[in-house]
């Protein structure tokens, strides 16, 4: 009868050797998919002016960003007044189309809360910004935010 004697054994240990693999896979997934910036900059990274009265922009999906600055590609000249919309260097005439395109991506109820963030270089000229502003007003995109870095409270 010894052949059928019940083996006296406790609970068998669950093999956890594969658990690190799963966790590492998660880790790599997050590391790879996390992108810091969603658009390639065609202009040099704008040197933002600093201001103390800054507000944080909430609801990233409702923010469309317009970059103004010096183009990386020298064929656009070396002035600080190039406008980038999405992934392309553009002119201010294309701003309304850009805004309308951005609007089509959000639900209608959220359209009034959409903000346009203007990331412009310190040395860009006010004329360019004004052109953009007039175009934004034409399409009724009235909430704008002049992107600025937070300066420490002076005096």
């Amino acid at each position: 009868m010894s052949k059928f004697r019940k083996k006296k054994k406790g609970m068998p240990a669950v093999n956890t050797a594969a658990l690190p693999d799963i966790v590492f896979m998660l880790l790599f997934f997050f590391m790879v998919t996390t992108t810091m910036r969603e658009t390639d900059l065609k202009i040099e990274n704008p040197r933002l002016p600093s201001a103390s009265e800054v507000k944080k922009l909430e609801h990233k999906s409702l923010v469309s960003t317009i970059y103004v600055g010096k183009a990386k590609d020298l064929k656009y000249g070396s002035g600080f007044n190039r406008i980038q919309l999405n992934d392309k260097i553009a002119t201010s005439d294309q701003v309304p189309a850009f805004i309308i395109n951005a609007r089509s991506k959000v639900s209608e109820a959220e359209v009034p809360f959409m903000t346009t963030s203007i990331k412009a270089d310190k040395e860009s000229s006010v004329g360019t910004i004004t052109d953009i502003r007039l175009k934004l007003r034409d399409v009724n995109a009235l909430k704008i935010s002049y992107s600025a870095s937070k300066a420490s409270e002076a005096n």
């Binding site: 880790l27 963030s117 006010v126 009235l142 909430k143 935010s145 002049y146």
Partner: protein, 213 residues
Amino acid sequence: MARRENPEINAGSMADIAFLLLIFFLVTTTMNVDSGVSKKLSEKPPADYVPPIIKEKNIFEVNINRNNELLVEGERMDIKELKAAAIAFINNGGGEGKVEEGVPTGPCDYCNSVRKQDEPQSSESSSDHPNKAIISVESDRLTEYGTYLTVQDELLRAYSELRNRLSIQKYQIPFPELEESYKSDKNNESLKKKVEDIKTSYPQIISDAEPTN
């Protein structure tokens, strides 16, 4: 000879290490939050729109030329002095406030108490009431954007300082904190009233004039 079995390496704590790494990255990854000076543009006026006539003394004129120099109310000024000048103008309270929905708001009854001692007293030649005081910024097309934004920032700081002073005086709490507590408790009617009260006492009226060429 006794055959030794190959001992298995305990991989149980490997998961802990990996989890630790994962959690570390999850916590330290901050999405770059964009911040900036927010502004609301005015709506496009209809074609037949006639701008209202505003008294000269209720307009605070700031001009920035293409060399990034400031001309405030016809005089050259350093950007450091702009905030104080704007405060003096907004908080002048030299007359009657505007008529809102048929109800006149009367003279500014808080301007005097908000004014600091070393600031000029109210005069007839400056603004009537904070709700009538308009700041107009005119810049050249070739003005640097950095300067333009600094000017906007200084003007906004003037307003926040006045709001802050009034808030401390009326409710014994700095205005940013008052706003913060309202944000975290949106349904609190009394907080809402306080925030609205301070905001309407010093409405931010900054207009951008068409730039000159």
